[in-house]
C-alpha cells in the first residue's frame, strides 16, 4: 500500500503498482483542436502545410527550401489517382538542388525528411522519443531538441 510522509513543506508519497492500477479520476480540460495558440502539426486546420513544423526539420528553410516547398505543396494538393504523379518535375528539381549540398542532404537517405545528419536532435531527453519514432522526427530534433518536436502530430 502506499505510504506517505511529510518533510516540512514537501510531501512524499510512495505508491506500488497496485495503487496505481485504478484509472485516474483527475480531470483534464478537453483540448480545442483549433486553438490558434497551440503548436500545429504538419497540416494546419485550414488544410495548408505548416512549413514551420519541427517534423520537417530544416527542409523548408534550407538552401533547397523553395524547391522543397514547391514539390511538397504540389504533392499535398495533388488529386491524381497516384498522388503526386504530376509533380515529378518539382521533385526532380528538388533532388538536383539537394545533390548540390551533399553535406546537408546525405544521399543515402531516401526519406525526404531526414536531410542533414545534423538535424537529429540532440537532446538526450527521451522526450524526443515520440518524435524520434518516425524518421520524420529525426530532423525535428535538431534545434527542437527536447521539445519533442511535435513530430508529425
Amino acid at each position: 500500500m502506499s505510504y506517505c510522509r511529510e518533510e516540512g513543506k514537501d510531501r512524499i508519497i510512495f505508491v506500488t503498482k497496485e495503487d496505481h492500477e485504478a484509472p485516474s479520476n483527475a480531470e483534464l480540460i478537453a483540448d480545442d483542436p483549433n486553438d490558434p495558440y497551440e503548436e500545429q502539426g504538419l497540416i494546419l486546420p485550414n488544410g495548408e502545410v505548416n512549413w514551420n513544423c519541427p517534423c520537417l526539420g530544416g527542409m523548408a528553410s534550407g538552401p533547397c527550401g523553395s524547391q522543397f516547398k514547391e514539390a511538397f505543396s504540389c504533392f499535398h494538393y495533388s488529386k491524381e489517382e497516384v498522388k503526386g504523379s504530376e509533380c515529378i518535375d518539382n521533385f526532380r528539381a528538388m533532388q538536383e538542388c539537394m545533390q548540390r549540398y551533399p553535406e546537408l542532404y546525405p544521399q543515402d537517405e531516401d526519406s525526404e525528411s531526414s536531410p542533414p545528419q545534423g538535424q537529429s536532435g540532440s537532446a538526450p531527453p527521451t522526450d524526443s522519443d515520440p518524435p524520434a519514432s518516425t524518421t520524420q522526427s529525426a530532423p525535428s530534433s535538431d534545434s527542437e531538441a527536447p521539445s519533442e518536436g511535435q513530430n508529425a502530430s
Partner: protein
Amino acid sequence: MLKCRSVWNKLAPLGRSSAAAACRRPAAGRTGLQQGGGACGVPAAAMSTGGAGGAGGGGGQNMMYFLLVGATAIGGGVYTYRTVRGDRERYDERITEITSRPTKSQQTSYIQSPEPDSVAAAPETEALAPAPQEESPAPVEETPAPIEETPAPVEETPAVEETPVVEETPVVEETPAEEPSAPSSSEDSPESGPEPAGEPAALEPDVVEPAASLEPAAAEPAAALEPAAAALEPAAAALEPAAVEAEAVEPEAVEPAAVESVAVEPAAVEPAAVEPAAAVEPAAVEPAAVEVAAVEAVAVEAVAVEVAAVEPAAVEPAAVEPAAVEAAAVEPVAVEAAAVGADPIAPAESAEPAASLPVVPGHAPYLLIGGGTASFAAARSIRARDPGAKVLIVTDEPDLPYMRPPLSKELWFSDDPTVTDTLRFKQWNGKERSIYFQPPSFYISPEELAVAPNGGVAVLTGRKVVHMDVRGNKVQLDDNTEISYDKCLIATGGVPRNMQVIERAGEEVMNRTTLFRKVEDFKVLDMVSRSVKSITIVGGGFLGSELACALGRRSADSDLEVVQIFPEKGNMGKVLPEYLSNWTTEKVKKEGVKVMPEALVKSVSFKDEQVHIHLKDGRVVITDHLVAAVGLEPSVDLAKSAGLEVDADFGGYRVNAELQARSNIWVAGDAACFYDIRLGRRRVEHHDHAVVSGRLAGENMTGANKPYWHQSMFWSDLGPDVGYEAIGIVDSSLPTVGVFAKATAKDTPRAATEKSGTGIRSESETEEVAQSPVASTTPAPPSLPQKDDYGKGVIFYLRDKVVVGIILWNVFNRMPIARKIIKDGEEHADLNEVAKLFNIHED
C-alpha cells in the same frame, strides 16, 4: 424617457387643442367631443410610447409629425452626403499634392546630370512610393539610375534598407550601370535585386529617383560624377535601392549620379568606399575602370575602392542585378568606408584579403543579433514562413550557431579523442551528430545575402553590435559598420557571472579560472583536465553539477581530483526539494566528486603555484584550476542605446507575451524576460526555451502574433542513475508533492546498478537490463521500501494549490502529459490521482 415626457407634456396642450379642433369637426353631430376629449386625453396618457402621438390625436397631428420627421431626415441625409463628398474631394486633392511634391524636390535635388529619363522615371516611381520617399529622403537614393555610358563604375547603391530610415547606412547603393554602351537598361533590372528590403516594390522603382534623398549636402563629388551618369538608363530599376542610402559613392566619376550618398555622418568617409557597387557584368570593363576611377576619385579611401571593385565583380554576374547586388556588394564596402575614413578596406573586410571580401550587407530584412540557439531557431522559423527571406545573424563568437547542452554532457563522454575538434557526440538514440545545428553549407555568405534569389541565412561572425538606433531601424557594429533592418531579434543570451573574490584575486588566479559557456571554454577545460591534478568547481546548479559529474567520471581513469563547492545544502539545492537534493548529492559523490556543500568562498589567493580558496568557515581548498558556474548575467548592453526596458527582478529585456520589446524588435532566449500567460513573468535559461522562444519570435516577426504558450521543458543528467526532465517553474522554495514508485523486490535499488558507464541517457532499456544482473554489487539491497530510494517518480511544484512545475524523475516520454497539466492550471484535490496519469511503474 423623462425628457420625452416633459417635452410631450409641454406639447400636449398644444396638441390637445389642435386635436380637439380636429375632433370637433368630424364629430359634429356625435358625442365626438367625448371621443375627442378622450382622444385628446390619450396623448398625454400614451406618452410612454413616445411618438405614438396621433393615437387618437387626430390625423392632422399625425401628418404634421410625419412631415416634420421626414423633413429632418432628408435634411440630415443631404448634409451628410455633402460632407462626405467634400471630404473625399479634399482627400484626393491632398494626395495628388503630396505625390507631386517629390517630383518637385527630386528635380531640385538632382545634382547633376539629371537624367531626364531618370527624372521622368523617378516621378513614376515617386508616385509609386510616396511613402518610401519620406522615409528615405535622407538616404540618397540615387541609385544608379544613371548608367553612364562611361565605364566608370557605377556606384552601386546598396539598396539595403530602403524602408528604414536610412540615412545612416553607409551602404551605398547603386547600381553600377556603367555600361558604356547604350544604357544598359539591363542594369536596371537590379530591381530584382533590391528585394532585400522587401520593401514594397515601389521602392525599387524609386531607386531611380534617388534624388530626393540625397543628402544633398553630400553632393560632393557626386557632382563630378554625375556628368558621366547622364546615360542613366531609365533603369529605374537600377535605382531600386533607392531607399537605400546611396551613400558615399561619389568618387567615381561615374557614379551613378544618384549616389550622393551619404547620409549620415560617415558619409563623408565613404565616398570612396562605396562605389564599388555592383559593377555588374559589363563589369569586366568596369571593374578595372572602377577601380581606377575609384582610386583617384575617392578622396577618401582609395582602398575602399579597390575593394569595392573586387566586389562588384564578385557580385553579380547577373546582368542586371547590379542593383540588387550592389546592395550586397556595396554594403560591405560602403559600410566599411563609413566607419572609418581611414581605411575603408579594413573595416569592410575585417581585414580580409580582397579576394574573400567579407562584405557586410548594409541592410538585412531580418536581422538577428546573437548567434545562439534562439537565433537559429528564429532564422529557421522565418525562412519556413517567409519564402525567400533574407536573414542575417550577427554574432561575436567565431563559430556558427551550435547547441550548448552537449558541452557539459555528451561531449565529455565521447570515446573519440578528437572530439574537441570534431565536436560530435552520440545522441540518446545512438545517432551521432555535431553540436552545430547545420553544417556551413547550409548558410550563405553575407555578401551574397542581398542578391540571393531565394534568400537564405547568413552568419556574420566575430562582430558585436554595440549600438542600436531604433528610430532609424539600424544597428552599429563594433567596427563602426552599420546595418539597417526591417525586423530585428535580440538573442544575445548572457555571459557567465564571475565572482568578485576571483576577480580581486589577481591575474594568476584569473588565468586559472574558466567561466564555462562557449566552445572555447570546453576546449580549454578539456585540455586542462588532462594536465592538472585538481579542479574545483564553484557552483551547485545545473552547469556546476553536470561538469562535476563529467570531470568526476574522467577522474576515474586519471588521478584528477574533482572538488565541488557551493553554498546550498546539496546539489541542485535551488531546484530539487531537500530530500531529493540530498539524494542527488550522494549520486554525485559516487561519480568521484568531492562535494563540499554549505561552503561560501571568502577569498581566493595564489600561492606555491596553486590556487587557495578560503571558505568562510575556515576550510581551505587547494586546487590547480577553478571553474566558476555561478549563474548567467543576461547581456543587455543594447538596452541603453535602443531605449529598451530591462527587468529589475529577473534581469534581461522586458518583453510582452508575444516576445516583442518595441515595434520591430523582439527578444528571445536567455536574455528575454517575458510574460508567460500561464505562469507569469519569468526569464528562463534553458535550451528548449531558447528553441521555443526563438521559434515563436521568428513566427511573430513574420506576422503571426502568437503569445508564449507552448511550455518549454528542460532536463539534466547527473550520471547514469539520475536523469530527469522538468517543465514549468521548478523552484525548491515552493511546496512540493512527490509520488514515487515504491521499490518492490523486482526493481532493486538502482543504486545497486552501477552500469557500464554507458553515459548519460543510457536509455531506459539499459537501466532495466542492468537491474537484475548487477544487483550483486550492492551490499544489502534493502528489502523494505527504502525511504530514500527515489528511483522514479513525479514531483509536483505547487503555487496556491495549482501545479506550476513538474519534474519527471527517471520516467521518460511523458512530457506531453506534464505539459497538459500545467496548461490546464487546475486545482487538483488529490495529486496522487494526477500522478496516475504518468504510469510511473511502467517504462
